[in-house]
């Protein structure tokens, strides 16, 4: 991808981020605790600490020139 195209992608991500932050802070994305059954499932977690994922990331870190931007803990929570 050329640098111009990269800038377009970054700008689009920035706009998406801004719109998302505005929406989230305005409270337009409210999921009530009793609606979290699916979100709390392990398949909907972003950073499930699995053996295979750790091994895969270890492999990719050693074979590619880039790193970072991976998943962090977070996702649906069944707690009230």
């Amino acid at each position: 991808m050329k640098l111009m195209e990269a800038r377009v992608v970054i700008k689009a991500l920035g706009l998406l981020l801004g719109a998302s932050l505005s929406c989230a802070s305005a409270g337009c994305a409210t999921v009530r605790p009793e609606q979290r059954a699916v979100l709390a499932d392990p398949t909907m977690q972003f950073d499930e600490k699995s053996m295979d994922r750790a091994a895969l990331e270890h492999t990719l870190d050693n074979r590619e020139g880039s790193t970072g931007g991976g998943s962090v803990r977070g996702g649906g929570c069944g707690c009230n």
Binding site: A24, A37, L39, M51, G65, S71, G75
Partner: protein, 416 residues
């Protein structure tokens, strides 16, 4: 190998502690033990790289708000790699320049997590050692959720103090006269022919997870890293003159890296499947621009069996000073005159990955443990295949044959 008995003692202590805790008649989960092993193979006639990666992690919850964790892992590496990198014009004999090696890296980790109603704080320390490398890393992270738990923010910072063994050149020696290591003998032992050089690492990360609907969530992660010190491979020489002159790989001593990743998860009720899509953009001060695109899908085939399939595409541009061949008369003040590299990770490349994982979980019933010991027990098996396309990397003009990688992993997790 004086450290192996110590590593075995650590592992034995972990297992012993887990058995004691598992035998305790606790009603709530007080500990979990993760055991795993991964096998990485490059089916190449020339390099034949094989890595076995066993690991064990024990987490203990002495109270509701505190989790203490300890772990051990090893990388047992064997194979062959090119000790001299030359390009299309260099006429390097890659058969004789490929050197066989075997090494084992041991890493021990200890840490804690403090959890409150809607916040958590985690700290950890990791020590890693191998014949030619030492690493000390501290990491802290803190997270909280708000807006009725629909929004989660996590901040983390890691600091690494590493040391790498090289030949004993001094700063005033011209980079073109520095020699590569031919083995790790004498490293970290006051040997006059060896030197120890620092690598300082700073990693920052912020993550924002947002739930939008009862079946849709996103995560945005921004990472930044600073690296300073000896960032080359101490074993690799690069042909830098048409007469065949070689010198130790010479990389800049500073590198700043940034990445932005965006992922979404969506659960399709009709298919009873969770789909995930993600994109990541990466940029660094060595002028590498990388893009990653990922897709995966996971569903319950049986109430106790989950199957995940995944696919990934990655592409990157080359580093500013990358060249497959440095013998073409680059200006001494230009990027390829000041620095030279034989690292394929700095060349323009793309890669494809496909993989799958099956995970089986057995939950104990109230008052009844699995196998009389576990509150829950799960096991996983996975396989991934990675194919790399090196667009501008040759070994003496020949395309390398070690561009296919196979990865298997097995995992076992028990909660007590």
């Amino acid at each position: 190998m004086p450290r192996r008995p110590r590593a075995r003692h650590c592992l034995g202590a972990l297992l012993g502690l887990s058995v004691v805790l598992g035998a305790a008649p606790a009603r709530a989960q007080v500990a979990s033990l993760d055991l795993g092993s991964a096998l990485f193979v490059e089916p190449s006639k020339r390099s034949g790289l094989t890595v076995v990666n066993p690991s064990a992690t024990l987490s203990v919850k002495p109270s509701d708000w505190l989790t203490v964790q300890g772990g051990y892992e090893a990388d047992i590496v064997s194979g062959a790699s090119e000790s001299v990198k030359g390009g299309k014009l260099s006429n390097v004999d890659i058969v004789t320049s490929a050197t066989h090696f075997a090494d084992t890296r041991h890493a021990m980790t200890g840490g804690f997590t403090v959890t409150r109603a809607s916040t958590h704080l985690t700290g950890s320390y990791t020590y890693g050692t191998e014949h030619d490398y030492r690493s000390n890393a501290f990491a802290v992270s803190a997270g909280t959720d708000f807006l009725q738990k629909n929004t989660q923010i996590e901040l983390s910072y890691g600091r690494g103090f590493d040391k790498v063994c090289t030949t004993a050149y001094v700063a005033s020696d011209a980079p073109s006269s520095r020699l590569a290591l031919d083995n790790s003998e004498g490293c970290f032992k006051d040997e006059k022919k060896r030197a120890s050089r620092d690598i300082n690492l700073d990693n920052f990360q912020v993550g924002w997870t947002q739930t939008w609907t009862p079946v849709f969530a996103t995560q945005l992660v921004l990472s930044a890293a600073l690296q300073h010190g000896f960032l080359a491979n101490p074993y690799r020489s690069v042909v830098i003159a048409s007469a065949g002159d070689q010198a130790l790989e010479n990389h800049p001593e500073n590198r700043a890296r940034g990445a932005l990743g965006l992922r979404g998860k969506y659960y399709v009720k009709n298919l009873q499947t969770a789909f995930s899509a993600g994109a990541r953009l990466y940029r660094d001060t060595w002028d590498i621009f990388g893009q990653t695109y990922e897709l995966d899908a996971e569903r319950y085939m049986l109430p106790w069996l989950r199957v995940l399939v995944r696919a990934r595409y990655y592409t990157q541009t080359k580093a500013l000073f990358w060249s497959d061949d440095y013998t073409g008369g680059e200006p001494a003040t230009g990027p390829r005159g000041q620095y030279w590299s034989g690292d394929r990770e700095l060349s323009p490349l793309s890669s494809y990955l496909i993989g799958a994982r099956a995970l089986a979980t057995r939950q104990g019933r109230p008052g009844q443990r699995v196998l009389g010991l576990f509150l829950s027990l799960s096991g996983s098996i996975s396989f991934d295949m990675l194919k790399t396309n090196l667009r501008d990397f040759t070994l003496g003009g020949r395309a390398p044959d070690d561009t296919l990688a196979l990865l298997w992993s097995l995992g076992l997790r028990g909660e007590f």
